[in-house]
Symmetry: C2
Subunit: 423 residues, 2 copies
Amino acid sequence: MTIQTPKTNSARMNATIQASCEWGCTPDGGMARLALSDADASVRRWFIAETKALGCAVHIDAMGNIFAVRPGRYDLPPIAVGSHLDTQPTGGRYDGILGVLAGLEILRALDEAAYRTAYPVAAVCWTNEEGARFVPSCLGSGVYAGALSLQYGHSRTDEAGVSVRAELERHGMLGELEASHTSNPLTAHFELHIEQGPILHEAKQPVAAVSGVQGWRWFEIALQGRGSHAGTTPFAYRRDPLIAFAKLVLAAERVAQSLGGLCTIGRVGSTAAQSTNCVMDDVVFHLDLRHHTAEGMAALEGTMRAEFATIIAGEEGVEITRWDTLTAVQPTVFDTEAVACVRHAAEATGMAHEDLVSGAGHDSVFTARTCPTAMCFIRCRDGISHHPSEYATPEDIAVGTEVLLQAVLAYERKLTAKLEHKS
Amino acid sequence: MTIQTPKTNSARMNATIQASCEWGCTPDGGMARLALSDADASVRRWFIAETKALGCAVHIDAMGNIFAVRPGRYDLPPIAVGSHLDTQPTGGRYDGILGVLAGLEILRALDEAAYRTAYPVAAVCWTNEEGARFVPSCLGSGVYAGALSLQYGHSRTDEAGVSVRAELERHGMLGELEASHTSNPLTAHFELHIEQGPILHEAKQPVAAVSGVQGWRWFEIALQGRGSHAGTTPFAYRRDPLIAFAKLVLAAERVAQSLGGLCTIGRVGSTAAQSTNCVMDDVVFHLDLRHHTAEGMAALEGTMRAEFATIIAGEEGVEITRWDTLTAVQPTVFDTEAVACVRHAAEATGMAHEDLVSGAGHDSVFTARTCPTAMCFIRCRDGISHHPSEYATPEDIAVGTEVLLQAVLAYERKLTAKLEHKS
């Protein structure tokens, strides 16, 4: 048996993506493979069969997370390549899918080259990352990381009232392994993902290392004014919450830009009925704040609150009557060494963008709490995802998969050198 | 029979309002007397009986408009005091009701004083002013003025599909008189109404003459941006229609103030689903513009369009894709002499506010197209109307009713003097 340098196979990788997307595809070329649906169970069974055929030991934990482990020379926790196979109800063929199948392709490449690593290498499929069928997102990796309890994870229900546990049992995916990083640790976690944003597309570069994930905080804010007749109420007598809202919208953008963060107002409405010829009575809106550092996030929220208070103080008769926190997730900073391995592998292609910070959440946010973690982004067309038109070229997929393999191998070699130097 | 100076009776007027509001009252003290409902038919039958008891000739036209005419010395078109008896579904006890019952009280005062006018004097009840059950508003006076056809008026249906004509027939209110100012003209039309705004309330004055009615134009405007992910889309790549919208909101107020008009944005939403973590894809809103002169209205719309275009030109990737006119009603300027009669009668109380311009539409907008017309406003608490808490004090009602009587008598004396001078 000749030992070759392992190399991923572009044709095989791309063909595997399209073939696996037969489960859950929609006529418009997109995907509707909701977590633990029949289609999701089918692709998961296929993933188990394919990895078993490569000689992997496949373990399923109590959240249905699947660990396909290719043994190493030592019996150590594996270096994992993971993501998710579930999609949004009107999703695409790359978000998550790319990451799990990159794990499979890496296992295939290692097998094909008969390459022996010191550490086991695993491909991992996390359950219900999208949160589309069962809220919240990253349910499988969240329970694994100890951020959510198993009882909580099992008891989530979909709109029809069907629970995660019931679906795991129905599909034979309720594993005996504890869903926990303490009893089932990983040495490291790497994840290949489409960027889901426009930066690589606009920069015309296919790939970048990801140094971390922005934190985000979601708020629901209510402005109370006073509804009145549009024809009979002169400006001086109005208490129009929409005027105040408009000033807040512009201030929010200004503050976020000045602090290197992001803000978005994506929902706006009112509790009172709206009418063409009435000044609005109240305005209720959602504010989404993002920052890549904890200090920056704190400053962003603090400055936003102060700025909003100043503006509202100048709007006679309008008040902020509610400021509810809906979600608060701290920023994630990935492991320096793991990120360096991805960066070097990306730079070796000669086509790498500088490191990015992920704006969206991923399973790696949770694995990062338990083990060294890094991600690699590839470009997606127009920055679009969560839509049937989501697209990454076969060439970019090939680049990303190969970068991830080389990053994993580099990281593994470093760890092995340390291990064997010590012993 | 002694001839006295006619004088309205405050106790009788206020008691009559409350008694007539037994038909259609709601437990919260408000009214739900939709046009041509059973409650509306009951109060109309009562109005007919009361005016007949005073010796009036009662005519009903083909739109159910009721003309209760007290004969004068000459067989001339009557000087009318009119308004409406229908209310909003959650309305109050004064809007419209006050005006019809002021007509009744004036007839009673004339009768009590055995006062003979040269011109007949009429109390008029116009059908479906509110437009709450049958869209549009001012349906009865609109057909009478020739602004709407009889066929159109008859064919309006409520939400259950019941037509105006069917309801007129059911209640025996489909009169044989043509609904037309040409065959059934009025010499003049006076209307007493609550202000429905805050000016008299804030000025602590009970009464004012009304010199006209603002015109109004309603638009539906759509801004198309580009929806994108709140976390993965840097500001530079966003095409956020809400930022553009916020700028338009503030510009609209600035423009309207500078041109002595009014503007209101009372409805805002989007065609695409809104999501906390997505930049909005589009924003759709309604813009209500008001001005009291035709030139002012034209300038207001023209300047608004130019200002909006300038702002949107600076918002890369955001466009105004639709600007639909929903309604356009020209300003009404009431008759100089009729307004002067109301003003002088109001000033005689020593408590009059300077002339107001009505911000809301009234039946007088349509009568003004056919005969000299004027209105008198009284204060309503906090400027609130179209709500069960709508309120005018018995004292203010007394002042307004008496002012209207004196205005009608003064106008009638002037016309009579001219008539008898000529002959």
